[in-house]
Symmetry: C2
Subunit: 140 residues, 2 copies
DNA sequence: ACACAAGTTTAGCATTGGCTACAATTTCAT
DNA sequence: ATGAAATTGTAGCCAATGCTAAACTTGTGT
């Protein structure tokens, strides 16, 4: 019984490597979208600064994003999102925004809400996100 | 400028490997405590079943927990929590319980709340946890 | 007591994500 | 136009987390 080597039977437990990979992808496309917005383009160094990791780490992570179809880039050029990447970025940043506003509505301070929302955003299901939205609607 | 190779200057970004390591440690000690409670002892196979990973993976993870002082075990024997491990398990399961109850109070269904709380619990700060508690106190 | 089942450990491989050091390319100033 | 600075890429290291296969203990039943 070979225990499932891909994502097929996903019990409620098992936050596997690929979950983390997805989180990282979401963080990256979100950051790329932001940096493109604010700086006009997104270089490897910008991402390195943003995530506080070395440019080498960024470079290889971007390579995986290219492999997975989220990003396109040419040698020594800035990185750009594909259509797929943009879609993920938008979903991700929208979810992030809801979580952030929710925490603030709950009474959490801005600075802590910003930190916690980054961690939490990857783990809220559609249902929970809707419950958060409903709470905010109710409380003005 | 060597970019900080240990945990020292931790910006709000950078959910690094060691964060994941901590999450895994929390999940494991929590599971070990539960399994000890419900089964009388906690074997490697029990953890493997619980996390839906191979017993080999569990074995090595337990090795790291031993190295980090959360767990003690002798060859071919069940695993037990150290005092440090018990402390972490209790904190962790308490936090988990608050998040779970909070989500349910928010209107999320039991089954989804159980899944989401497992992901979220590792990312809520003390302040956010208190805000969740306050919300529940207020709403009976 | 001995064999077999269940559980554990070891060996060995892959991927991810971190790093430094060095090479290559592009960009910018003079 | 050329050389320095900034940026990007490559090589090679390490640790964590996943796996299978095979060896080794423990414990149970007959």
């Amino acid at each position: 019984m070979p225990k499932s080597q891909n994502r097929s039977n996903q019990g409620s437990h098992s936050r596997t490597r690929s979950d983390h990979a997805t989180e990282l992808a979401e963080d990256y496309v979100e950051a790329i979208a932001e940096l493109c917005e604010s700086l006009g383009s997104c270089r490897v160094v910008d991402l390195a600064r943003h995530f506080e990791v070395s440019h080498v780490t960024v470079n290889r992570t971007v390579g995986r994003l290219v492999r997975d179809g989220y990003v396109k880039t040419e040698p020594y050029r800035p990185v750009e999102l594909t259509a797929k990447g943009k879609r993920l970025a938008q979903m991700s940043s929208q979810r992030h925004a809801v979580v952030l506003k929710f925490l603030i509505a709950l009474g959490v301070s801005q600075s802590v809400a910003e930190i916690d929302s980054e961690g939490i955003e990857h783990h809220v299901s559609k249902e929970t996100l809707e419950a958060m939205q409903k709470f905010m609607d109710k409380n003005i």
